[in-house]
């Protein structure tokens, strides 16, 4: 269980997160929705330890991650994997090397075993074996996302973070990526936090949805509860109404 308690973060005097309270249940996919620039990625970066809060706590299994240092911080990071918005594949490494990277860094597996696991993940992501010798700049947006997902999944994480996993993809590829996320979740049962503004697709993968607006969580519940939520802000966002989007 991940618990976020009264999380506050400001950048140059501007309060981006203004007292976030949220619980992310173990083994479920929680999606944080909200319009662009509202601070969804900032929230995610706090939970993965890339940003430190001004105040508040993030508890993972009742341990405050802001207080983790040295080996305990490393152990926490070994439990998680992140699918970044742009994939964050290493430009200088081939697809194969990118997917193998976490295994080479975190484990003492033999090269044969690493190769076997990389190829299994390529198959799982519906990527042809010819792709493995290519470099990230030779891949389409959808392929990059799938390679990045393969790199995240090869770590067999307990906790997965998805930062806008389908931004910039066409509708078929959007559905493919969401399908792969659902499939890998069914296989592995990881706890997941996804930030996204892709409505209504996120309702198909989420167990819990929370809406972030003006630095606060204004609604949280099952996808059904959010879709019928009485708050006009929530309704305005999920129906993509113009006046709200230009607010």
């Amino acid at each position: 269980m991940i618990k976020i308690i009264n999380l506050v973060k400001s950048f140059r005097g501007h309060k981006v997160l203004d007292g976030i309270n949220l619980e992310i249940p173990t083994g479920q996919i929680t999606v944080v929705i909200g319009k662009s620039g509202v601070g969804k990625s900032v929230l995610l970066k706090h939970i993965i330890g890339l940003l430190k809060p001004d105040s508040g706590q993030i508890l993972v299994d009742d341990r405050d991650i802001a207080l983790l240092k040295g080996n305990s911080l490393r152990e926490f990071k070994l439990r998680l994997a992140v699918l970044f918005q742009g994939g964050a594949l290493f430009d200088s490494l081939s697809v194969f090397e990118n997917i193998a990277f976490p295994l080479r860094e975190k484990t003492r597996l033999s090269e044969d075993e690493i190769a076997t696991r990389v190829r299994e993940r390529l198959v799982q992501m519906n990527l042809a074996s010819e792709v493995e010798a290519k470099f990230p700049d030779e891949l389409s947006g959808g392929m990059k996302k799938r390679v990045a997902l393969a790199r995240a999944m090869i770590q067999e994480p307990e906790i997965m973070f998805f930062d806008e996993p389908v931004t910039g993809l066409d509708p078929p590829m959007t559905n493919t990526v969401f399908h792969l996320i659902s499939k890998t979740h069914q296989d592995s049962g990881y706890t997941a936090l996804m930030v996204s503004h892709d409505i209504p697709e996120v309702f198909h993968v989420a167990h819990q949805v929370a809406m972030l607006h003006k630095g606060r969580i204004i609604a949280a519940g099952t996808p059904e509860e959010i879709q019928s939520h009485p708050d006009p802000m929530v309704q305005s966002f999920i129906h993509g109404e113009v006046d709200f989007l230009e607010d």
Binding site: K45, I48, G49, L50, R74, K77, L78, L80, A81, V82, F84, Q85, G86, A88, L89, F90, D91, F101, P102, E105, K106, Q155
Partner: protein, 256 residues
């Protein structure tokens, strides 16, 4: 009146803060060289990128520098009938000053800018964040091998610069202008002492560390997308060239 003073004060504070940040960054980078994993392969890759790939441009610059020094030196020395001292003039000029300084400036222009652009792009495309979330320290994986490679590569490139420069001077002084080959080399061996060589080595070590530190720091703290990378790269070339010249004065006054 208060406003410009406040601005000056703010800028001074920012400068001190930046210098302090850079020192902490350097200490962290060098400190991580002493703890496993040692990243020897990454170090060799960076030695190739920073050192081997700068060799040609350094040799080219060295050849023309030696040639022009011989040309200028010859016509000045001829007025006093001392053409035989040409080898000494060329070698001392190269070993003490021109070698380390021009090598530093060429490495900053070729490798320093590339290092900033590479790390800056890694920053804006979240590759550094990706390393961090995989429990891989980005400073240890990306920065530390470059710092070590800079410290090793620049003195070696400076040595190449000195040798090629002396040969360039030989080409102009001996082959084209007719100075005797024996006096070119004998004046050189008589006037160049070990202190001159040591001074050049120390300078090149300091320049190498400075250039790659500035390049890595600017890349690591790049902000604001592609424009930020462009600004950081530009800043690296300008700042490292100025620092090389400033360090040169400080170190020369120390060795004199």
């Amino acid at each position: 009146m208060a406003n410009p003073i406040r601005q000056l004060g703010q800028r001074s504070l920012n400068l001190v803060q930046e210098a302090g940040g850079m020192m902490i960054f350097l200490l962290e980078g060098l400190g991580l060289a002493c703890v496993p994993p040692f990243r020897f392969r990454r170090f060799l890759q960076e030695l190739q990128n920073i050192g081997v790939r700068s060799t040609l441009i350094v040799m080219l610059t060295a050849a023309f520098t030696g040639m022009v020094m011989a040309l200028q030196g010859y016509y000045t020395l001829r007025r006093y009938g001392s053409e035989g001292a040409l080898g000494s003039v060329v070698a001392l000029g190269l070993i003490r000053e021109m070698g380390p300084v021009l090598t530093g400036i060429m490495v900053s222009a070729r490798a320093g800018s590339a290092v900033t652009a590479e790390i800056g792009i890694m920053r804006i495309t979240e590759q550094l964040d990706a390393l961090d979330t995989m429990a891989v320290n980005p400073i240890q994986y990306v920065v530390m091998p470059k710092l070590l490679a800079g410290v090793i590569a620049v003195p070696l490139l400076t040595a190449i610069f000195d040798v090629v420069g002396i040969l360039g001077g030989y080409l102009v002084g001996v082959v084209l202008l007719g100075v005797s080959s024996g006096s070119y080399f004998s004046s050189m061996t008589q006037s160049v002492v070990m202190n001159d060589v040591n001074g050049g080595i120390v300078k090149s070590l300091v320049f190498g560390l400075t250039i790659i530190l500035v390049a890595c720091y600017n890349g690591y703290y790049t902000e604001h997308g592609a424009e930020g990378v462009s600004k950081a790269t530009n800043q690296t070339v300008v700042l490292s060239a100025v620092l090389v010249l400033a360090w040169d004065y400080v170190l020369t006054s120390f060795f004199m």
